[in-house]
Symmetry: C5
Subunit: 336 residues, 5 copies
């Protein structure tokens, strides 16, 4: 579920700062703590091993690994890589969200042009909405594990009411060997044309307007599929993810105090700056990881199932329950 | 209220520079001074404590914390993080502003296609405008604390005249369990269709054009809700905010002069560069914090309540007061 | 006036390089020279003061201010701040320019749908164009000092012919307490509808098309107002401007040669690198300052007054002088 | 073929991390291993040569090449260049993908406006779809080596059924000396107009709507050609590619241990950090190289041939097999 | 002429790498070699001068200029400036290219709505196309030196057939004191309306659709003019260009070996790293210079004259030669 925190940042103040910092769900703390713990355990194992070997050996080891820490930052330019990678990912994340498919415009359009309160017209409007959401369900199943879990097969969709038995038959009858997300849309268009032919849509421009809204909705779904089909090239996140992990793996060895005769700094007991660095970089990378697949199962990922339910309820309400209704018009207060 | 300063920067000059620098409302000074004061107090407390402990202890402490300052910048890459984070936030802020919902286009469209000066047609036009602004009020209440304070409940909205009593009843009758921002829009669409059916709109393309404008307005409102529903993932601002504060917390200790026998620099008495750094980074971060929720209560945040009042006044003026009026056409000066 | 230099860069060559470099109007030299001079004077005052105090004092001072220069770059990350700020500003500048309001499309649209060469139809077309430009004049007055100076009040606009006396009366009669830029547009729309009702526009889709162009033009004007109403949050330019000036203020002291026994470098007589840095950073910041208010009075700012004159002349020519005219069609050379 | 890995990143966890890291197809490992191997071989050849020359000579060499490594990073700012170059390339890659030409919208549009199930109408719809895909085939042949290999000449296209013999004659008869990708589109438009003239499209707005969709599809194709015609200026990738290779070429010499009396670090035996750097920078550059021509033959490149097959199958299914079909409408479960 | 190299990068391989690197036309080598040569000559002149002055003088000089090289990179942050400047320029370059004006859509639109094969209708269609390209010729003349050279005056345009004698008379008769690029468009619109009035365009929506395409084409032309009218503010490229040249000018002196008793590095004979730096930074800047005026005369600039010829040939072919023609429709292979 998406984590909302806007009220906490409605104004800039110290209190709000703490409200934002100490949230847990979807927080950097939650995403970082387990790996930080593992890293710390490894760090102390290495530290204890080092301190228990003879000094002469230790000094030789020190010589061997000392240059690592000096050159690590040059070899692995984490800031650059993370900053640019996150920029690209955030862009993609925004686009994905903009294409999630919100039914209101389409439903309002259909309600505005398909007129009539006869049972079959109402049913036609309802069915169009249902087909649109059905298409969304089919798409979400393929790109979101959560939706897949909710709708493991067509039968589960049928039980939820988005598809009916004879529709499954029709769906499976179509021979096209590629995905069939477009089929429910095609059904919706066919119904729309029948309504037009039957005179329930009074003019061609209105038929066209409704069709355009359905097209926009379908394009959203197609874009989602395309984002799924063609992700950021694998090598890019690989480079980033490996670089961050390699960096902190090397820190396990390079940030140790090997010459026990040296002056002791605070890092002698607890690597406070490396831990800070771990939280910052790892947290930053976790942001990237979480955004990489915005339809996944992280705290911050989009709620596909919620959207499906909202779409069907809102859509039905618009084309049926509240169709053609408006309160009696009375004189308003703003007239002088 | 938004802080306007464009006249001050109409040309590049020294004087204008000072005009911009010494503004208070919405300024970096206003947002930074309190935390800077707290930080300075802490800094001097730490300084005095240090200087009052025995030298030997102090030198040991020095050894312990000396490496902190050296590595702090590497561990916490503030410039990178702030620069990229602010870029992303500014982008979002611009989008939010572009979706605030300005009624002029919709009102002009309705005035252009819904013709007639009979009382009921005028009332219909007025009611459509009122419903559009009502939808905006409902949305703003949920995403802006200021609007919420002005309209704590439906009754307050009723008293302001945006909704009427029997409309509240209708609103609450609708069973849809999700938000109902779309309902007033739906009412407006229904009225629009009635006007079309009654022949007040002379052709389908014009009905369609008005509908498109209402849709655009509604899409703006829906986008605002979506920006509120799906913010930048929490972990991102958390990482940034914690990093900045951690950095300056560490500076409290790492930027002290512990070896009193060392040469004294200007920092011995007043940490001028760290204060400059504090203003710059903290100010930069405050920009990010303020932009993060542009509908909040900072000096620079968008004025929801002003916009609501402007929309209702302008909209009503367009569809009623100035409807179908234009000055007598006379020969202009530009004709040869 | 905007400074054009495209012909100078039509190809990459040494000569073109010098042509670009040694321009004065709108150049970095022009914007930087005065502050550079002031800075240099201050620098030499500080230098002379230093060299005239006893050496012992000077060395103590040296100790005090030496660390400044070392840490200044860390404390004030000018490159980052300027680079990102300029990016954001350039984006806004582009958007402003794209919304300046060019009348050609609207005028061509009106000429294409409002047919007829009778005096009153021609007058109607002319009046619509005049109202559109009038709206632009009203907007420009509020956001550009140059336009304000040309049109200090409504009377000045009247003398230029953009508004007529009885129109001022109408304008002032409208009670809306907010800006009334939309009113001339509303008049234009009303005239357009009258033409449609009188059969001068032959079909609803054409009426709609003309209306859409007027809307696009009005949206441009509204966007300009919005850019003016909601600038980049004040704190952002403040942080940048203060940081740059603080940086060079500190350089006055930190870049001096205090230990006269040290080896003399070229900086002993003239701080060549600091001057280079001053030109680069200051010039960069001046770009940002100049772009911050693109409707201001800098050499590079958009020419509001020129655009107004061009719009009225071109618009009138399209809807009147060249209306419905085209040369006799003759066989062209491209037919085989 | 595009490499999909979204399911592996559906949530942020350690396991998923490894799934992403250890993929081979399209991975950074696959793209980097061969050059890394060559580099390592060269590195060890240089190392062995060095160690087998007399110490005195070696120390002179050391003097000569020591400054290289120190200044290499300043001379060749790889991080900056790669980060910005990849940003620009990713942007272009996204645009290319968005213009690949997906037929669904066009096909649905044609199915929605061209009504009739008579053989010749069905054939007309099928032919329009075929011509659209034919245009795509012609374009893809010119910009994608894979498509070119599948369709080496018009005859191969004919055998695949996208073009027919008499159509090749027509195609070759047209005298236009430039590319003729637009010709099949022109045929499709002509057929569309014939359908309109024959009354198979019931109204001008619908004819227009279908035409707009065909235009959108054609514009996609034209954009692809334009991306191919005007690539990123050659000098930009050249600078980047040369810089990266020059950097690692210099590392062959600059990262050697020449003074064998110096303390031995881990780099004495294996240049672990340089190898890490090689993987990171080279991998990053490989991302850029792969994205530079997204229609090429890398693992991650778009699958032109797959898209052609999908388009023809889906398009035909929409305008013929599933045309005007929808399941019987039955009461749904969402009605209360 | 634009330099195409896409086939060379169709897959990532070593061979392709070399193909890209060793191209000459439009390459970084071609743009950098002459200035590099000049720089090297200067460098060696300075070097020889240095080595021929007495050692004592030389060491004093050394003292004077030594600090330059250390601080040069701080004073002139080339990487930042170039990276961000190139980003902004690339964005503008893309926009320019997108607005070059491709006639296909407009021509297809006119062919789709203006029906009839009578001589005068065909001539009307041809004339509209010619006027559109004429407008492009007029615009290109003003913004591209190459187009200006091909069309030095109206007569040259007339000889090429884009304008006819009596049209020049009409063009010069119009009194508008500003540019008249819109006039041929206005003629085209007037012809279009005449066709509509004569019943050659069957419905208002189709007239409107064709008009919209002409508008889109004209907007492209207007955008090109605007890009030319309002370039990136002069101070920005000035700062960049001066900074790069100043940097390498200082390197002439700062990168010399003045203390001949120092250990000799490879830079003693040939400044290999400075040369590498020169190629990288200068090449990067040359990319910026070349993109700054994409309609100029560099190898990589857009081919205005080619586009004009292609537009007239393709446009004429669409509206005349291939008008209303399509091959006989036969059953395709994809039907089962």
């Amino acid at each position: 579920m998406t984590v909302s925190y806007n009220l906490d940042v409605s104004s800039v103040s110290f209190l709000n700062f703490f409200k934002v910092i100490f949230r847990w769900r979807g927080s950097v703390w939650k995403s970082v703590w387990s790996e930080l713990l593992i890293w710390l355990i490894c760090y102390y194992i290495v530290m204890i091993s080092y301190r228990n070997i003879p000094e002469s050996t230790r000094l030789i080891i020190k010589e061997y690994i000392d240059p690592i820490d000096d050159q690590l930052d040059k070899a692995v330019p984490l800031t650059f890589m993370l900053a640019f990678f996150v920029s690209i990912i955030v862009d993609r994340w925004k686009n994905t969200f903009a294409n999630m498919g919100f039914i209101e415009n389409t439903a309002l359009s259909i309600a505005s042009v398909v007129r009539g309160e006869e049972t079959e017209v109402v049913l036609a409007r309802r069915t169009i909405i249902r087909y649109l959401v059905l298409s969304q369900v089919l798409v979400f199943r393929d790109i979101s594990l959560r939706a897949r879990r909710r709708f493991p097969n067509l039968e589960a969709i049928m039980k939820s009411g988005f598809i009916q038995e004879h529709e499954i038959v029709e769906l499976e009858k179509v021979s096209c060997p590629y995905n069939k997300y477009w089929l429910p849309i095609n059904w919706a268009c066919s119904i729309l044309h029948k309504l037009f032919a039957d005179g329930k849509i009074s003019a061609a421009p209105l038929y066209n307007a409704a069709w355009q809204e359905i097209k926009t909705y379908r394009t959203n779904m197609a874009n989602l599929c395309n984002f799924d089909w063609v992700p950021i090239p694998l090598a890019y996140p690989q480079v980033i993810f490996v670089a961050v992990r390699f960096y902190f793996f090397m820190c396990l060895f390079g940030r140790q105090h090997l010459d026990l005769n040296e002056k002791k700094s605070i890092d002698y007991y607890f690597p406070i700056l490396t831990v800070a660095q771990f939280i910052v970089y790892m947290g930053w990378m976790k942001v990237a990881e979480a955004l990489l697949n915005p339809l996944g199962e992280d705290d911050d990922d989009f709620e596909c199932n919620f959207l499906i339910d909202k779409n069907i309820a809102t859509g039905m309400s618009i084309v049926d329950e509240t169709f053609n209704k408006f309160p009696e018009m009375k004189k308003d207060m703003f007239a002088e």
